[in-house]
């Protein structure tokens, strides 16, 4: 094999009562790259994510992580193997403090997660590492705040810090910049770039500026199937991709959203 694949899907299919949301997807993610999964709304990007992390069960097909078949593992085991995901809507533990949020992730590798007879003070040993992680996303000063009180952009940063606490081999980021203002987007994009230096990242992302800036490889999904794959330059030049984003009637896109407009200007 010439490629060093960290994640591979073979003939991945997900059907919901006669509707095929994901149709024969053969996704290949190379180690050490930032790989973006893009496509119009309803293309099945999040479904693929949910299949990869086993929040959904595939109807058919195989999932391979480092060559190991993980098709039958449950979500928690997948995290243990080194694939950790984020969610579309910021996934923090709202009423825990920022420090506790990260610590819960650090705690997972310990053997005392069922220990109910000892004080939580025994977890204080993790605080240094937790603060270090918070520092890396610029949240150290907020460590004592409740996560719910953070502004949206910082919640996403917290989420990334929490994910990093598990030291995953492969990060799955589901729309990391969704719902963010300009300044926040550049902060998170910078953070992803930094994190991607020594890890593999697979992300679903709508903001094509971010995709263009960060990703080494792009896979385009349309109606549940892979349309094309390549670098940003090759993908954005593909007429099929243009059509998928712009709609069939060229030049008259229906219900243009920010993304479609972005394609228009970028492509």
């Amino acid at each position: 094999m010439s490629q060093d694949l960290i994640l591979e899907t073979r003939g991945l299919v997900k059907e919901f009562k006669g509707f095929t949301a994901v149709d024969d997807v053969n996704l290949k993610v190379e180690r050490g790259t930032i790989h973006a999964l893009i496509g119009p709304n309803g293309a099945g990007k999040t479904t693929v994510f949910n299949l990869l992390t086993k929040f959904l069960k595939p109807t058919r097909g195989k999932l391979l992580f480092n060559g190991q078949d993980i098709t039958r593992k449950d979500s928690a085991s997948i995290a243990h193997l080194g694939i950790v995901r984020s969610f579309q809507i910021s996934a923090v533990f709202p009423h825990l403090t920022v420090l506790e949020n990260v610590r819960v992730a650090l705690q997972q590798k310990r053997s005392d997660t069922f220990t109910f007879w000892r004080s939580e003070k025994i977890l204080d040993g993790l605080n240094d590492r937790a603060l270090e992680l918070l520092d890396s996303v610029g949240l150290r000063d907020f460590s004592k705040a409740k996560a719910v009180d953070l502004p949206y952009g910082r919640k996403r940063s917290l989420e990334i810090a929490t994910t990093l606490a598990l030291d995953p081999e492969l990060l799955l980021l589901d729309e990391p910049t969704q719902g963010m203002g300009h300044e926040d987007i550049s902060v998170v994009a910078e953070l992803i770039k930094e994190v991607g230096k020594d890890r593999t990242i697979l992300m679903v992302e709508h903001n094509l500026n971010v995709v263009a800036d960060l990703s080494d490889t792009i896979t385009v999904l349309q109606r549940g199937a892979i349309l094309t794959k390549g670098t940003y330059e090759t993908v954005s030049a593909d007429p099929q991709v243009r059509e998928a984003y712009m709609g069939v009637e060229e030049g008259q896109p229906e219900g243009t959203t920010g993304n479609e407009a972005a394609v228009g200007t970028l492509v």
Binding site: S75, A91, V104
Partner: protein, 308 residues
């Protein structure tokens, strides 16, 4: 510091209370307070609404009553038997229930509790409609006679404190952190590698065990184990106590239990005796509409506002 002082004051009050108030009434409050605290561990800290918690109170009561009456065991062994049995029932019921979430979880627990109710009604061991009456209180460790209500009160207080501290420790333990994380965001906890059903089951069993402890103790206090203890009214009452006092707060269920038991006791002998359920319904509605955080929850809000 402030909390330590408060706890000492409360302990002092609990120690002198039986000289002022009727001890049996106080014991009833303590038993229900422990029951509500156990329930609150599940609802307030693990985010699971069980609608069949009476089954654990009842199992504790019946098993303790049965072994005390039939084998003449000492009370600590009688309670131990009741608690172990509640834990086992909790393990089996929990295994079945934690696979479901939200309203389905509540329905499964309710259905399983009804199953247990009919078992306790039909089996020849429990005295059917009459329940188990005249359960002896026995001698604690074979030494201390619990027949006297004052002695019994201090024993019940000790049991309550043990149960309460167990709950407090559980909430503030490494396990408690995971439990709260699951309550806050279950999918996220899963994605961080936690097999959440195992943690939920653990919380369920701890809660069932302590509810059983409350039931066992209550059976000794009233020397009675009856169908009231396993009826779904009881499952509802503990929800009311917890919500009224403030779910997810450590003292809320205690206050809620005290309020409900007091209401029942004082109204039962008055002219409003026939309207107890109506009044409790009104209290419930007011609580849900006007102060959703419960008595303690609202109080904490006021304190927080004034301090900062």
């Amino acid at each position: 510091m402030y909390n330590k002082k408060l706890n000492l004051v409360l302990l002092g009050l609990a120690l002198v209370a039986p000289f002022v108030l009727y001890p049996v009434f106080l014991m009833k409050v303590l038993c229900f307070a422990l029951f509500a605290c156990a329930f609150n561990l599940l609802l307030g800290f693990a985010g699971m609404l069980s609608f069949g918690h009476a089954v654990f109170l009842g199992t504790g009561a019946y098993v303790t009553g049965y072994v005390m009456t039939t084998y003449g065991l000492t009370p600590e062994l009688g309670i131990l038997a009741g608690v172990v049995m509640s834990a086992l029932v909790g393990l089996v019921y929990g295994k079945l229930a934690v696979r479901r979430e939200g309203i389905y979880f509540a329905m499964v627990t309710l259905a399983l509790a009804q199953l247990a109710f009919f078992f306790f009604l039909q089996t020849p061991l429990t005295g059917g409609e009459d329940g188990l009456q005249g359960i002896p209180r026995g001698k604690l460790f074979g030494l201390i006679d619990l027949t006297d209500n004052m002695t019994m009160y201090y024993f019940v207080l000790a049991v309550f404190i043990i149960g309460f501290l167990t709950i407090y420790r559980t909430i503030h333990s490494p396990f408690g952190q995971v439990m709260k994380a699951i309550r806050e965001n279950e999918p996220r906890a899963i994605s961080l590698g936690y097999k959440v059903n195992q943690y939920k089951l653990m919380a369920f069993v701890i809660s069932a065990t302590l509810a059983g402890l409350a039931g066992s103790t209550k059976a000794l206090v009233f020397q009675l184990a009856s169908l009231t203890d396993v009826h779904w009214f009881m499952s509802g009452e503990v929800v009311l106590m917890t919500l009224l006092g403030g779910m997810g707060t450590i003292w809320g269920p205690v206050l809620g239990a005290a309020a409900i038991v007091s209401m029942q006791n004082f109204l039962a002998s008055g002219p409003l005796a026939n309207y107890i359920h109506v009044l409790m319904g009104v209290v419930f509605v007011i609580c849900v509409l006007a102060f959703r955080n419960g008595l303690v929850g609202e109080l904490q809000k006021v304190i927080r506002k004034n301090s900062g």
